[in-house]
């Protein structure tokens, strides 16, 4: 066996190891090298909208959740996760959905734990419980989900972020948004 074959074999063995058992970070140094590996994919925004103050108690507030984990109803068409430039759409997920109704169909991040309990990435049942307990006022009818792999920030802003923001304003009538990155 050559050194390179041995190296490939070792890296495959490392890849096969369950990171939950080894405690090993799946991609050490990922973010330190992202600009080198994906030149041009990171952008700087100078016109961020300031956060608004919540003007009512949480127990009276209506909450919407927005997630980049790519979750959707099992009955919905999966998002296109193989397109090299990403997928520029989103899904409405009923806030009444349960773990068994939902699936994450994604390639770019590990979601084996979320497959066992969707609340790991998309805490929909936890929010339902908080409403039942009177800790939150209510949930918007729909939550919003998209995939985080998008190589065109301008297109993403125009076709995903803005339509979600518009939908939240038009449909959700929420007092606060819980943004859940994956």
């Amino acid at each position: 066996m050559t050194t390179s074959e041995q190296s490939v074999g070792e890296s495959r063995a490392e890849a096969a190891a369950d990171p939950r058992q080894t405690g090993r970070q799946l991609r050490p140094g990922l973010w330190h090298t992202i600009n080198e590996r994906y030149p041009g994919s990171m952008i700087t925004k100078d016109d961020a909208v300031p956060l608004a103050r919540l003007n009512k108690p949480l127990a009276e507030a209506r909450v919407v959740m927005v997630s980049s984990c790519g979750v959707h109803l099992r009955t919905q068409r999966p998002m296109d996760v193989t397109h090299p430039l990403g997928y520029f759409g989103f899904r409405r997920v009923p806030s009444s959905a349960r773990h068994d109704d939902l699936i994450i169909h994604q390639l770019k991040f590990p979601h084996d734990d979320a497959d066992l309990d969707i609340n790991v990435s998309f805490p929909v049942e936890r929010l339902q419980e908080m409403v039942e307990a009177g800790e939150l006022g209510s949930l918007s009818e729909s939550f919003y989900s998209f995939i985080g792999y998008n190589m065109d920030p301008e297109k993403f802003e125009a076709e995903v972020a803005t339509p979600i923001a518009d939908a939240i304003g038009r449909e959700a009538h929420a007092d606060l948004a819980l943004l859940v990155p994956a």
């Binding site: 994906y38 030149p39 041009g40 296109d80 193989t82 770019k108």
Partner: protein, 95 residues
């Protein structure tokens, strides 16, 4: 890489930048892994064909009549479809 970066590479005829992007995409951020993944999908396609199973040529001809964007996207989807058959799925997400 951003789309504008790729468009510039295409305008410059800089195929090296484009293939680097493809390898990064298919290798989940590693060019070396991406190169190996590309090889794996061709190996899998060849393995499938070696037994001369019947082929639906009509379906292929109908598919090839589709628009280029659909076909190019299908090309990437077929890559992932083929390597799902292998051991050592690297993409961590759903199969």
């Amino acid at each position: 890489m951003s789309t504008s970066y790729l468009r510039q590479a295409i305008a410059d005829g800089d195929d090296e930048k484009i293939i680097r992007f493809v390898r990064l995409h298919l290798g989940d951020g590693s060019e070396k892994v991406g190169r190996r993944e590309i090889d794996k999908s061709w190996v899998e396609a060849t393995k499938v064909l070696v037994d001369y199973e019947p082929i639906d040529r009509d379906a292929i001809e109908k598919t090839l009549a589709l628009d280029d964007a659909t076909l190019a996207s299908l090309f990437f989807q077929l890559h992932f479809h083929l390597i799902k058959r292998t051991d050592g799925w690297i993409h961590e997400g759903s199969r």
